[in-house]
Amino acid sequence: MVSLSWLMALSAAIFVIGVGGFLTRRNILVMFMSIELMLNAVNLAFVSLGSRLGTMDGQVIVFFVMTVAAAEAAVGLAIIISIFRSRETVHADDLTLLKW
């Protein structure tokens, strides 16, 4: 059996990669995908911990996280579409009307 540490490390790695993607990509959609990476990393952590603890809670939470991710995706993509309609761009660094 793989040690929990490795699983957690994998989870952390994916999480951090997600963070990195969010920071460095200009495209809002890709930034959003990075967030999905982070969520999945967390899901992995939940499942791994739940599995080691022997309780179902972890898996149930993953179920909820997926739902939330779906909801966020719906709303987030709608927002992206609406901003694309008004601004014709999906680049994060173009969205700086509001500042200072």
């Binding site: 951090v16 809670d57 991710a69 995706a73 719906a74 993509l77 579409i81």
Partner: protein, 183 residues
């Protein structure tokens, strides 16, 4: 879960995740993301989270990602044209990310990673039966809330993406005029 499988999936998921972050074409990114999700789904199943694993594959990697794909096509997004103007952020962002990873690594060494208790999996652990038993008893409220949440998401999505009204067009004109003036 055999160790070999784990290592393979771990490597795959990390590579795929890096693919999400590093590729220029959003569609390629999305494909890499799907790959990551699938690898993770297998990891779930490998840890007796069978239902969740399949849900991950079907709902997440399937349905949700298709949504992304639609949007990418809808917006007809171009390939990201290189790292313009973002070099500093990329450099320092990467450094910061590395720092975070290093910090997390210190926390996650085995000697520090002690669970409160650890028990063997009961019969039917991870099955749809077990999952729904928990879901509809202890997590009844949470489950109901998800329905509300999804409703909110639907309303929100509709509200944002519905057809433009005449009044809104007028307002838009005013707003863009103002933006120009401000610029």
């Amino acid at each position: 879960m055999p160790a070999g499988l784990f290592w393979f999936l771990a490597a795959l998921s990390i590579l795929a995740a890096l693919g999400v972050v590093l590729q220029r074409n959003p569609v390629h990114c999305l494909l890499a993301l799907v790959l990551t999700l699938l690898a993770i789904a297998v990891l779930f199943i490998g840890q007796d989270a069978i239902v969740v694993g399949f849900l991950q594959a079907i709902v997440y990697a399937g349905a949700v990602m298709v949504l992304f794909l639609f949007v990418i096509w809808l917006l007809n997004l171009p390939v990201e044209s290189g790292p313009t103007g973002h070099l500093a952020l990329k450099l320092f962002g990467t450094l910061a990310v590395a720092a975070l990873l290093a910090e997390l690594a210190v926390f996650l060494v085995p000697s520090r990673l002690q669970l409160k208790f650890s028990s063997a999996h009961a019969a039917g652990y991870g099955s749809i039966d077990a999952l729904s038993q928990t879901l509809f008893s202890e997590y009844l409220i949470a489950f109901e809330v998800t329905s509300v949440l999804l409703l909110v998401a639907v309303i929100g999505a509709v509200a944002l993406a519905r057809r433009t009204t005449q009044a809104e067009l007028q307002e838009r004109k005013e707003a863009s005029a103002r933006v120009e003036k401000a610029a």
